[in-house]
């Protein structure tokens, strides 16, 4: 009888590997961090319940969306989208080569890798407000400054995600090419990038969408945009117009997502 016996002939291996002292310390630290964080943020489910009536009141004031200014709002949305497209595209073109350097283990240059990762981190850390200032000083108020601000923002975001997507890819095909003397750069373009392509599309289209959503920065550089309209609407308690704007942006976001899912499908399924 060869049915699998319920008792093993061999000693069962241990369930857990004994973690190293360092690993144990790190786990403990991680848990402590979480407890500390939750402790500090004043959780209270009770409060949540009490607020429902006022919330209903607030939402009722947002309804129905006002379509009075739909013309000028659509125009603002389209202008914003225009700047978002060119800014995001610039950012992506900036991020691609740097992200290849930034991806660990791809080019073998540790120094350039650290520099590009640092650069991406810097791009993200310096806030919108300061980028606005820098580009207004550099190129003056207007859409160009807005485009550049969006580009830098996009580069910081996309660069990081591009790099890590390339790190996550199965290295087998690239190694097989390199075994035949193919340069790292060729192997990256021939095998790493095709494999990371769906992730690139996700990241790029998210960046585009993000640029539209966070277009308040365009207002800061005097380039108008839908973000400014939304800010004015909420600042002036014009919630019905705000609701319209949010719906407009929501529609755009859905369209961009649809485009992304179409492109991803083509890449994944061929």
């Amino acid at each position: 009888m060869v049915s699998i016996a319920d008792t093993a002939r061999h000693a069962l291996p241990g369930r857990f590997e004994r973690p190293s002292a360092l690993a144990f310390l790190l786990y403990a630290l991680g848990i402590a961090l979480i407890v500390w964080a939750i402790d500090g943020s004043g959780w209270s489910i009770e409060e949540l319940g009490k607020g429902i009536p006022s919330l209903a009141d607030f939402l009722s004031r947002c309804w129905p969306p006002s379509f009075e200014r739909i013309d000028s709002l659509s125009k603002a949305l389209i202008e914003t989208f225009q700047m978002a497209v060119s800014g995001t595209l610039t950012g992506i073109i900036l991020a691609l080569p740097l992200s290849i350097l930034a991806a660990r283990g791809l080019t073998g240059s540790r120094i350039f890798g650290s520099i590009s990762r640092g650069l991406f981190a810097l791009f993200r850390t310096v806030p919108d407000l300061v980028w606005a200032l820098i580009f207004v000083i550099a190129v003056g108020l207007g859409p160009f400054a807005g485009t550049l601000a969006i580009a830098v923002d996009t580069a910081g975001f996309a660069g990081r995600f591009f790099a890590e997507a390339m790190e996550d890819v199965d290295k087998g095909p690239a190694d097989s090419l390199r075994a035949q003397g193919v340069r790292r750069s060729d192997a990256i373009f021939c095998s790493i990038i095709p494999a990371a392509m769906p992730s690139f599309i996700t990241t790029s289209l998210f960046a585009l969408e993000k640029s539209v959503r966070s277009s308040v920065i365009l207002g800061l550089v005097g380039a108008g945009g839908i973000g400014l309209e939304l800010k004015v609407a909420t600042d002036m308690f014009d919630y019905q117009t705000a609701a319209t704007i949010i719906l407009l942006i929501f529609a755009l976001v859905l369209v961009v997502e649809q485009a992304g899912s179409f492109a991803r499908k083509r890449v994944i399924e061929g």
Partner: protein, 269 residues
């Protein structure tokens, strides 16, 4: 009682948001109530919190008071007076503009929409000088002060509307140009005080009582703000005064100048 007190991004009270300890202690000692402070840098959030009875008192600016009063029926309690609270219109000294009327057809930089001294006041000022800010200019850029300042220097905007005192201070920090390279071509009258207001849900008698104690102990309370030292020395000269809603009618008028007449109806009219 335990009251919740929000402080919106009131000009000049930034430090209060982080260093309000002594002030709070003095206030609590004087009134016998406890206060919880929340720095809220957005008046819409403060207003909605008031409306939802999530906050009881708000310290805010004049324009903010007007809209919050309209949206939530909150009432003014105490004015926090500030010396030299007015606005001006600044151009570059080497520019051809010497009076507001010269700015017709030019670009103008201002603070966020709805800011008292950075938007409402300069708009009113232009109107007073016969320039309709909505029609006669070739565009208003609402941006941060730092951006507006740099844009003025570049010539991207012909003029900027500023809170006069803070502009003076900021001009001092800009070492890239001589202080004399700017020209002020108009100044407004003093603006109404910043306000400590109370929500419609707060017991009126208690509010009145607080007003009385604070006014009675104003020297001590003001001192507590200044005593923190350092940056807070600039509050020297502040006063706490009892105020009335009608003091803010001039501000209501300004909302018409910026094209939001829904806030310019005077209460009782």
């Amino acid at each position: 009682d335990n009251f919740k007190l929000a402080v919106t991004d009131v000009e000049g009270l930034e430090r209060l948001q982080t260093e309000w300890g002594p002030f709070k202690a003095e206030l609590e000692k004087a009134t016998g109530h406890t206060f919880e402070f929340f720095p809220v840098n957005n008046r819409t959030a403060a207003a909605e919190a008031l409306r939802a009875k999530r906050v009881d008192f708000v310290v805010t600016g004049p324009a903010e008071y007007v809209v919050i009063n309209k949206v939530t029926q909150a009432k003014a309690l105490i004015g926090l007076s500030r010396p030299d609270y007015f606005c001006g219109i600044v151009v570059m000294a080497n520019s051809p503009y010497t009076k507001p009327a010269d700015l017709k057809g030019q670009k103008f930089g201002m603070d966020d929409i709805g800011s008292t001294s950075g938007h409402l006041c300069p708009s009113q000022l232009l109107t007073d000088f016969g320039v309709n800010p909505l029609k006669d200019l070739s565009g208003i850029t609402h941006t941060s002060r730092a951006v507006a300042h740099e844009a003025l220097k570049r010539g991207d905007v012909a003029a900027i509307g500023v809170n006069y005192t803070s502009w003076l201070k900021n001009r001092g920090k800009d070492t890239s140009v001589a202080q004399g390279s700017f020209r002020v071509i108009a100044r407004s009258g003093d603006l109404p005080n910043d306000v400590l207001l109370y929500g419609a849900h707060v017991d009126q008698a208690k509010a009145e009582a607080i007003r009385k104690v604070v006014i009675d102990n104003k020297a001590k309370i003001a001192e507590s703000i200044i005593s923190v030292g350092g940056e807070n020395e600039k509050f020297k000269g502040m006063d706490l005064v009892a105020i009335e809603d009608k003091n803010y009618d001039p501000v209501r008028k300004m909302f018409a100048a910026i094209g939001h007449p829904q806030y310019s109806e005077f209460v009782g009219e």
